[in-house]
Symmetry: C2
Subunit: 657 residues, 2 copies
């Protein structure tokens, strides 16, 4: 394949990212103002707490992780879209339904972004939302339990990257197509080269129940074939609107790194979602037959269910003249970020050398006055660039990606190509400070930086390239985050800390919002699991045909029963293990030799189940996997498996008979 | 079940552990000497390196993790015994064979301990060994690549807890039964109450090839039914011997927390492994038919193979009078730890209130002089306690678990029940210092503390109970580690840091041993994968019946080919993705919508394969999952799936045709 000169330039730019940033790094870290007392400012003495919880997307790990700031310590990995054998997530009978989709069980996904639930534009500490990029889904994580409570599949979508961006009062969580595809249904077998005619984008508005948090796909907006990248909901004055960065305005279907980089300007799509909601409520739109899974975890039964739903309402934006507008934005924009007052929208064209800042007020005027440069894609009005523009940040750096805000009217933009974070004033557009990152920062996060009142103080740069930042660990390296103190005029680098997976985005919440409402145990009396065992006296085994249920309890230092005989080849054995502890931080584990699944890790008051199909005759030890007491090593038992048809009596006991 | 008074006492002791330690904690951390400049002493400025790599067992996570000391930062999780969808470990065609066993694929295990490979009793930086506790296996991790290179199953074993302890020159890695079971084979269907007659322990000696590291089960020692807990190989003067803690000397088969806690003394088993090796080489022992898997990852083909082996040589220790001896040891011992000179063996009875220290010299004299108190279990001589005893550490604390050593002749013992680390002198047995832990320390680790010349300086307490040490994260909390500086007379607490999984043991290696030999990329020219693609010009698809192979390359910013048509329902599609980058830290990922497996994460120079069986007609996007360049978002493509029997031509291309 031959390159045209223009293509060669683009490729160079892309390839330059690494060498540029890498060669700029010596002496290491010296380019940044590393504070002399950074050690004290990031050190949390034993027994004291971090100031912030930081919920971080795992990217290709498919999970969410929870760090403390300023220490950078990893407190928990919450399994969301990927199986986690450590916690039996996706292996226990109770959690298997969480990873079901309309097309079967999917053990992995790419958890790209997270966003907090909001009340009046502020994190309310109820839930975190997360998107999966590969098999399009949304998840809701409960912040009392730090567990995934719900997962819903998104139909008509190819790559749910532009998600889970949330409106000012969590009315909706947004999920928009990264890769346009033919809509779901029988018409999908079309030539890939027919992209312009047959491929469509969809933007889903998933409502959130105010009390329970439950998801519901309210409606979808169908759009021309485009790639939606990132978005922000309006807030304050712009509440009711949504801003989405669109690349591939060229509608290329191949060699996108060249073909989707041709236009000097792509778009930010501005959507009047309140208007769309009005139309939807008025019965507009088309009901489309689709199939998608909706999975919920019930904290009372400690069990998930997966349900298939079959219909969605779709409004085509080209059927309406007041739903969606395109704002030209240079060039292949990534971030579309709204400032705390909601007055400004920052577009970050990842191949651009300036940052356009759009004014919501000017946009509204331009729409009212029809200051359009025409229409695209069969009926979407394109607002004149200058008509919506507040102004441009000149020479900010190369390759702007993403912008967050502090509480003082400043913006912070990450630059992948020039490998730096740049601070600038949202109104004056003046560049105030810049600090290098090691290396090639992607997203960044200011504490509360996407809310109406940012907490400020800390900024974390989530860097894409690590190389020599930490002790090397073979060809595969962790990703690197860098913590800056942004409370002063200049950003101060405090700490490099490694992260797991590939964090694309994060949300910091002040510790005080969450720490006192964090659940410590599950109430054993409220446990409504159908196979709960109330106490050791009720522990038993039951057979019905070849189904054997072991009703087991676990408490320091027993698994009851600990002797089980009469299991036969061909049996399906369900160990329903109830942890009858009611003491904080007293989980027990359960594992049995030869199991083809995973372990159970059972929190106090909880019941969890492992299915076991013995594949040989003999004696199988089982044991508690979580060191719980001085006699943990003794917390074990045996199962005897006999041949099919054996007359070994079914028996279970604990203690000498 | 009624408790006898004695049993009640034991239970109280066990239950007391938590409340005892927890109530002792206020004010938090104040009981310890937290150094005034701990912040500086644990802070690694951006761009600088930690002093030590610390390889940490994941316990119930089944993986191994790599931390830096003194920062406590997590650099890498190495998948070993559990599937890891993030890295496609156990999902890619290349890695699936690594998790095969003689009874099928096992997706999870409990990685309990790790130990370094040794040359002359010092970590040589070649490999880490790890054991799996549930489905008995051993693993070898390559320290150039930080990847699992080999896994071997251990026959005749129920719970491979007492492992992977390694001899002075890595002649053997030890794997010993935690739960005795009937030997493998047809005779396993026996009553569990026939434990004393039918259940046996086995201690496996797995040899390690000096050059390649390859495992081979040289021989097994068959023992009476006992529970083996932990062990240490002799070193220096005691090289050639092995010391294993044995609990359940009562041979109880139920309610072990009571029935296996009856005897005031259990045992440390001393094994003359050089003698056993002599017998084995002389053709002694019995060849037993067994089945076990032996899995190897080939770094040239980038592919694992799993082979079933069918025979093992077993020597019954009761057939020989000079292989094994029992040393009485109070009470339910956990650790059996040999000091750096090899002169002393420390037994840690987890229900004991003193620590016996045995002298290797006195043990040898006792054996030579037959100072036995008799035999047990049909022929194993029991050495008189006093004859082997160097002395007892008096009133050291409650519930000693594990002991490591510094370079100055001191020992450090963890106490679960009294929740503290105690420093004492190995020769004088004098207690020198004690520091509380938060809470209930299990294992501890001194840098090089199990070698002939400990590095000293740092001690890490791996605590079993976390409660209020970090910001709460719902019912499930991370485990907590505490870093102490042990370079002075008194231990100084420096840092609390959270860990993932449940670390039972760790090995610290000075950074200098490893960091310069860490592999940065795989040489693309040395890549001998059978489905490697040498460059974009060779990228293609090939069909043979319903098997379709996609030969794909990945380099910034292309996946080639990026348009694929002619796939039909019923096809088995193999994406063989070769990352043709030869630049450090330039992995690419690969995911395709609707995949039922995981993603690929492909290091530079490597080829990895995902099998994909499309389950519906339509268009499926695929993309790079690891943000690699400014045009990473454009790094994507489409596959078209048509109905069975469709005549859509098979085609693949990149760029406009």
């Amino acid at each position: 394949m031959k390159l045209k000169p223009k293509e060669g330039l683009l490729w160079m730019l892309a390839a330059a990212a690494v060498s540029l940033s890498f060669s700029a790094c010596k002496p290491k870290g010296a380019g940044s103002a590393v504070s002399g007392n950074a050690a004290q400012r990031t050190y949390i003495p034993p027994g004291q707490y971090d100031e912030f919880y930081t919920f971080t997307s795992g990217g290709f790990s498919g999970q969410m992780s929870v760090y403390g700031l300023p220490s950078g310590r990893l407190f928990r990995v919450i399994p969301v879209f990927s199986v986690d054998p450590e916690k039996a997530w996706g292996f226990s009978e109770e959690t298997k339904p969480m990873l079901e989709t309309s097309h079967g069980f999917v053990p992995w996904d790419d958890l790209h972004h997270i966003e907090s639930s909001f009340t009046d534009g502020m994190p309310d500490g109820k839930w975190m939302f997360a998107n999966s990029n590969n098999t399009p889904r949304l998840a809701r994580i409960d912040l009392q339990t730090f567990r995934t409570a719900e997962i819903i599949e998104i139909p008509n979508t190819g790559g749910n990257h532009c998600s889970p961006f949330t409106t000012e009062n969590s009315e909706y969580v947004i999920a928009a197509t990264r890769f346009s595809v033919p809509p779901d249904g029988p018409g999908g077998d079309v030539p890939i080269s027919s992209y312009k005619e047959n491929f469509k984008g969809h933007i889903s508005f998933v409502s959130v129940d105010k009390e329970t948090g439950e998801f519901n796909i309210a409606f979808q907006l169908k759009t021309p074939g485009l790639n939606f990248d990132l978005s922000s909901a309006g807030k304050g004055v712009s509440n009711g609107w949504l801003f989405i960065s669109c690349y591939n305005s060229e509608q290329a279907h191949t060699l996108q790194e060249v073909n989707a980089s041709q236009n000097d300007k792509d778009f930010i799509m501005a959507i009047n979602w309140k208007k769309a909601e009005e139309y939807f409520k008025a019965g507009k739109g088309v009901k489309q037959a689709v199939r998608y899974a909706h999975n919920k975890y019930d904290e009372h039964t400690h069990t998930a269910t997966s349900q298939i739903k079959t219909e969605v309402t779709v409004l085509d934006i080209t059927d309406f003249d007041d739903l969606a507008y395109l704002i030209p934005c240079p060039k292949s924009p990534h971030g579309a970020d709204v400032n705390p007052t909601g007055e400004y929208i920052v577009g970050s064209g990842k191949l651009a050398a300036l940052i356009p800042v759009f004014s919501f007020e000017k946009l509204q005027n331009a729409i009212a006055n029809k200051e359009f440069e025409g229409e695209r894609y069969g009926g979407v009005p394109v607002v004149k660039y200058e008509s919506a523009l507040h102004g441009e940040v000149q020479k900010p750096g190369l390759g702007p990606l993403h912008t967050e805000f502090d509480e003082k009217g400043n913006a912070y933009t990450s630059f992948f190509v020039s490998s730096e974070v740049v601070k600038w004033n949202v109104k004056t557009l003046e560049v105030l400070d810049r600090q290098p990152t090691y290396y090639s920062v992607g997203h960044l996060m200011v504490a509360g930086g996407n809310s109406k009142k940012p907490y400020g103080k800390y900024l974390v740069a989530y860097n894409k390239i690590t190389k020599d930042r930490f002790l090397p660990t073979g060809p595969e390296l962790c990703h690197s985050a860098q913590l800056f103190d942004i409370s002063g005029d200049k950003m101060e680098l405090l700490l490099d800390f490694p992260t797991i997976g590939e964090p694309h985005y994060a949300q910091s919440l002040p510790a005080d919002i969450l720490k006192d409402k964090s659940l410590k145990i599950y109430d054993i009396n409220a446990n409504a699991h159908p196979h709960k065992t109330n106490g050791e006296a009720e522990a038993r085994i039951e057979r019905e045909g070849n189904i054997v249920r072991v009703y087991m309890t676990t408490i320091r230092s027993h698994l009851t029963p600990d002797v089980i005989e009469g299991i036969r080849m061909g049996d399906e054995v369900y160990f329903h293990v109830t942890n009858i502890e009611q003491d904080w931080d007293m989980p027990h584990g359960f594992a049995i030799k030869g199991a083809k699944n995973a372990e159970l890790l059972i929190m106090p008051g909880e019941t969890q189940t492992i299915k076991w199909e013995p594949d040989r005759v003999g004696i199988f030890p089982f044991y508690c996997t979580d060191f719980c007491s001085a006699l943990h090593q003794e917390m074990s038992g045996y199962v005897r498996v006999s041949p099919k048809g054996s007359n070994v009596a079914m028996t279970s006991y604990t203690g000498n008979k």
